[in-house]
């Protein structure tokens, strides 16, 4: 059943918190900013992408800002932008919540542990413990909007959002829910940046950040964000405009090689299965939107996958990227997904998505294939289409 529509989207991202802001940024991507964490030892040379949450207090209120962690605030704010509202006191038992988050509320976990270590277990912070569970975002969304259907959180690295999307689609297709709220969220936290610095994961401040660019070196740039979409089965509510539909999602584990992340042929086989289950052919894909993160090693895996897709399609398929807008974070494919929906609504591919190959297309875009490779050996993808 390929009639799952994206009815609403909302996001909080380093590229802006409205669709207009994000599309503008996508035309000319901003540079990463120097990262500073008040009260923390300075991390020399660290740059990244952070969200502006200054509007959160006015929208969510002071109480929630005090009670909730950064990840919950970002996610609730993004969800508010989808125009979700608590529809009745009884709640909505046929709306499910599906969240993908790789690291969960890292800031709250760190706050609880720091306190535990420094205070010798004497003055614990129960609120931080409550917020530290990975499903804190999913339960906050359910509470905020009184959503009583399925409530699932996937916490699996870079495929977290796509796997959550798979379960949402299944819930809709099997009729377990009539509406699905799908969220991908992760926060940029001091310890995450510190850990990455220790492992040499980040590019140095001032170093170009252009995913898929031939001159790329090793490393990426940390980021954060929350992207929310509301899906429903059929029942198009978008007026005269053609709906944007989710045709299929897939995720799995690939065979790792010590020198490459994934053999291009295996990536090609995976994408072929995804397209087959989505009812499209490779030649129909107008844009491959990938999670390439500017690291030369991972970029080469994405380029190999793109070349293999082109070989099977019999033509070059433009490969755009999105992490130059939001930075690298586990659930970033949620941002990519919402960006893809915006592009399909807008009908044009922003030039700033092509940091590497410069192959901007002029023809209208109707079908986007999203693809994500995780360094841990899992990969995922989905297909969305307008009309």
């Amino acid at each position: 059943m390929n009639n799952i529509e994206i009815t609403n989207i909302g996001l909080v991202s380093p590229a802006g918190n409205t669709p207009e802001d994000v599309l503008s940024a996508a035309a000319v991507p901003p540079a990463p900013a120097k990262l500073s964490f008040p009260g923390r030892k300075e991390l020399s040379g660290a740059a990244g992408f952070r969200c502006d949450l200054s509007e959160a207090r006015g929208i969510l209120g002071l109480m929630k800002m005090r009670r909730l962690g950064r990840l919950q605030v970002m996610s609730l704010l993004a969800a508010r932008k989808t125009l979700l509202s608590a529809e009745s006191k009884e709640g909505c038992a046929d709306t499910g919540v599906y969240v993908g988050t790789g690291l969960g509320s890292l800031g709250e976990t760190a706050a609880f542990l720091e306190n535990m270590v420094e205070q010798g277990e004497n003055f614990p912070k129960p609120a931080s413990f409550i917020n530290s569970v990975h499903n804190a975002v999913a339960s906050s969304l359910a509470l905020e909007f009184s959503l009583k259907g399925e409530n699932i959180t996937v916490a699996h690295r870079e495929i977290s959002f796509d796997a959550a999307l798979w379960h949402a689609l299944s819930g809709l297709r099997q009729g377990r829910v009539k509406r699905a709220v799908v969220c991908g969220a992760d926060e940029l936290n001091y310890y995450h940046v510190l850990a990455g610095s220790g492992k040499g994961l980040w590019k140095k401040e001032g170093e170009p950040f252009k995913p898929l660019a031939p001159e790329n070196s090793r490393g990426t740039v940390p980021g954060e964000g929350a992207a929310v979409c509301v899906l429903s089965a059929g029942g198009h509510t978008g007026g005269n405009e053609s709906p944007v539909k989710v045709l299929g999602v897939k995720f799995g584990r690939y065979r790792r090689d010590s020198s490459t992340y994934i053999d291009p042929r295996e990536a090609g086989d995976f994408l072929a299965l995804l397209m087959d289950s989505s009812g499209i052919k490779a030649a129909e894909v107008d844009l491959l939107l990938s999670g390439a993160d500017g690291d030369s090693g991972l970029d080469s895996a994405y380029l190999g996958a793109g070349d293999e897709l082109a070989r099977r399609a019999g033509r070059v398929i433009p490969q755009g990227t999105y992490k130059q807008l939001c930075g690298d974070y586990r659930a970033a494919s949620g941002f990519g997904f919402v960006l893809a929906a915006l592009i399909l609504r807008d009908g044009r591919i922003p030039a700033g998505l092509f940091m590497g190959r410069g192959n901007v297309v002029d023809s209208p875009v109707k079908t986007i294939l999203l693809y994500t490779i995780s360094r841990s050996g899992v990969h995922s993808g989905c297909v969305i289409k307008k009309g």
């Binding site: 542990l113 614990p124 699932i152 959180t153 796997a163």
Partner: protein, 400 residues
């Protein structure tokens, strides 16, 4: 005709034993697996009763470098594999996947990282390599050579049972033929201090549904089920241990930690699972309750059971005193308890019960009892009002 999902292998490790057989012995005897907390240093909680395993697990798992939940998950998965595939390999690794529930991940190492950083100024980021709870599912997939879907569900204490539901969904959607599904978690200072800070730990050990209960006992462990379609099991002549005939997940949308007092969300999960299975309440012969032994949990759960099943509820027992509350592993462990109860045609007792709480008006099973059990229900609840209900059926008799 509705396709069926069956269980063809189980693996389990907990403070109650390192195999299904040992686990059943402990369950039969109502034997508590709790012992004084000594696994991790804790000035405040040393000695509280917990369900803990030996500190060294690598000799059992065969993994050299892994987090504690990874070791536990691989041990359980190997047992399940051995039972389901005796002397044979996987038929199609690309169509075989793994979904595990996990909450804690390599938290013990992360705690050590912070302690060394904050107290000694030493920055050993290598300790964070297993921080993410995703590593356990990947360890199982890597160890068994699985190349199908691989993911981690983290819905707090209902993670393991949600993983089982979602695995069934993947099988019915033809995304996979066979799924290794379950949960794993270890003790950590975060969880001990966290539940302690909420005043939810009973210093005398948990006493589910008891009038004087004061909270939970924490534990650690892993349980993995091999699940597949009936056709897949038939093709390879696998022995079917149970059918997963119904399941449902709901959310209370009531409070971040406390369950809705009348168990509204739990009721909906039970009714949803019964509907999914095409069964009536009277078809259920045993309920393994989440039964954490917190005042609110047990009351809400009992209210929900009573609301669906009426005055004459099936026998109910919580087995948390046997294992401790093993978080993400709990739902999978208790699904296996249901399978063992059906295999052995006996209802495991509610260990730790002295005087049933009249505010929990359900039929609590006080001692081991032989009974005709062909359909068992397992309930799991988690933070955020996350509710799960599984219904398992014995393949041995198509009973009425």
């Amino acid at each position: 005709m509705k396709r069926e999902v069956v269980v063809t292998g189980v693996g389990i490790i907990s403070a109650a034993g390192s195999s299904a057989a040992e686990t059943w012995q402990a369950l039969k005897a109502g034997k508590s697996g709790l012992s004084p907390f000594s696994l991790l240093p804790s000035a405040r909680y040393a000695g509280i009763p917990v369900g803990q395993l030996p500190a060294e697990l690598s000799s059992l798992s065969g993994l050299e470098r892994a987090s504690r939940p990874d070791h536990l998950a691989v041990i359980a998965a190997r047992q399940a594999f051995k039972q389901s595939f005796p002397g044979a390999g996987l038929p199609q690794p690309e169509k075989t996947g793994v979904i595990l529930g996990a909450c804690v991940g390599g938290m013990a190492e992360s705690e050590l990282f912070l302690q060394r950083l904050l107290l000694e100024g030493v920055q050993d980021t290598g300790l964070l390599r297993f921080h993410e709870c995703a590593s356990s599912a990947e360890a199982v997939a890597g160890n068994l050579g699985l190349f199908g879907p691989c993911e981690t569900i983290s819905t707090a204490c209902s993670s393991g049972s949600n993983a089982i539901c979602l695995a069934a969904d993947m099988i019915l959607s033809d995304e996979a033929d066979i799924m290794f599904a379950g949960g794993t978690d270890s003790l950590s200072r975060l969880t001990v201090n966290g539940f302690g800070s909420l005043l939810l730990i009973d210093p005398e050990g948990c006493r589910p549904f008891d009038e004087e209960r004061k909270g939970m006992s924490l534990g650690e462990g892993a349980a993995v089920l091999v699940m597949e379609s009936g056709e897949s099991a038939g093709r390879r002549n696998a022995r079917v241990l149970a059918r997963l005939s119904g399941w449902a997940n709901t959310c209370d949308a009531y409070h971040a930690t406390a369950p809705a007092p009348e168990g509204d969300g739990i009721q909906r999960a039970i009714r949803g699972a019964l509907r999914n299975a095409g069964l009536s309440p009277e078809d259920i012969h045993y309920i393994n309750a989440h039964g954490t032994a917190t005042v609110e949990n047990d009351r809400a759960e009992a209210a929900a059971i009573r609301s669906v099943f009426g005055e004459h509820t099936p026998p109910v027992s919580s087995t948390k005193r046997v294992f401790g509350h093993t978080f993400a592993a709990a739902g999978a462990i208790e699904a296996i308890v249901c399978i063992l109860a059906m295999e052995n045609q006996a209802i495991p007792p509610n260990a730790g019960l002295h005087r049933p709480d009249p505010a929990c008006p359900v039929r609590i099973q006080r001692s081991l009892e032989s009974a005709d059990i062909y359909r068992a229900m397992s309930l799991s609840l988690g933070f955020g009002g996350n509710n799960n209900c599984l219904i398992l059926e014995s393949p041995g008799k198509n009973s009425e």
